[in-house]
Amino acid sequence: MTKKILIINRSAPYGSSLAREGLDYVLTSAAYDQDICLLFSGDGLFQLLKDQQPKQINLKSQIGAMEILPLYDIEDLFVVEEDLLERNIKPESLGMEVKTIKRSEVSQLINSHDKVLSF
């Protein structure tokens, strides 16, 4: 049965394995035909920066791995506007097509899904 699942990405890449585990979860659920939506908030926004070069620290690129998302029909990527501003991240420095939402709209997004997980 297809469920609408919202994944909240709150962790920066590389400092912990959470960001990677979140993406593994997303790709696995998408392979099982689940309807996946991603929300990036807080330090999770740093996962989306386009110029990541983690080879130098012997890790795989988070944004590089996310380029596969459209092939899994995952096109709903939301970012929290206030969190972008707080971290001085310009929309043009992001490596994926995203939609911005306000903090006040996040609870509505949560309520419109069957399952919510955060990484």
Binding site: I8, R10, S41, G42, V80, E82, R103, V106, S107, I110, N111, H113, K115, V116, S118
Partner: protein, 91 residues
């Protein structure tokens, strides 16, 4: 309606602040594990959300509960989870 499980101390971690930034006024918040140090934090005194804290974790750390925050045990914790549409862990 969402139950937010705060599992980290708000003095060393931003999860409580991040959660309150996006929580709906209808949501509830439960302090557990090191999240119970939130009892000492001004953010918990200001919030209008219904707030709970796990009794076992409070007494384990030698903390005292506050009137505005209801102490609950593990059975009530299970009930709370089943009463909310979503449960989000903040760690």
């Amino acid at each position: 309606m969402t139950l937010h499980l705060i599992q980290r101390s708000p003095f060393t971690n931003t999860v409580l602040k991040d959660c309150l930034n996006i929580a709906d006024p209808q949501d509830s918040i439960l302090l557990m594990e090191d999240g119970v140090y939130g009892l000492q934090h001004p953010l918990m005194q200001q919030t209008q959300l219904t707030a709970y804290a796990l009794q076992e974790d409070i007494s384990a750390r030698g903390l005292k509960s506050k009137n505005s925050i209801k102490e609950i045990d593990y059975c009530e914790f299970v009930n709370l989870c089943s009463q909310h549409k979503h449960v989000i862990s903040w760690y």
